[in-house]
Symmetry: C2
């Protein structure tokens, strides 16, 4: 199937399902950078509990938290 | 369009695109609880930077962080 595409002028993200040996996953792929993550149903469920603070915190640490500055 | 469905024996999550006045969003919906979140392209992009620690932290605080215990 074709992926879902969510894009704006800065970002383009492709979203699709993947069947793995451990079950279904959602693949979220940054089409420009080529980075991707596979999310299981529980991880997706816990996304629905989050508010914008969670994403603000993620955005403050691009490419993941570092040990220190 | 039909949503993507990512499910296991405990969880069922529906994923679809939504066109809002602010642009495209990915809707992630917990089909059992009815909770959902709309994610913009940048929020989706920053998901691809995360590792399992981020999700472990989310799972430790179901339904979002509280002020204290």
């Amino acid at each position: 199937d074709d992926p879902l595409v969510i894009a704006n002028e800065f970002s383009e993200v492709h979203v699709s399902t993947v069947r793995t040996r451990n079950g279904m996953r959602l693949r979220v792929r940054d089409a420009k950078a080529g980075r991707e993550i596979l999310l299981c149903p529980l991880e997706l469920e816990c996304l629905t509990w989050q508010d914008s603070d969670t994403f603000s915190a993620m955005l403050r640490t691009p490419f993941g938290p570092e040990e220190d500055d």
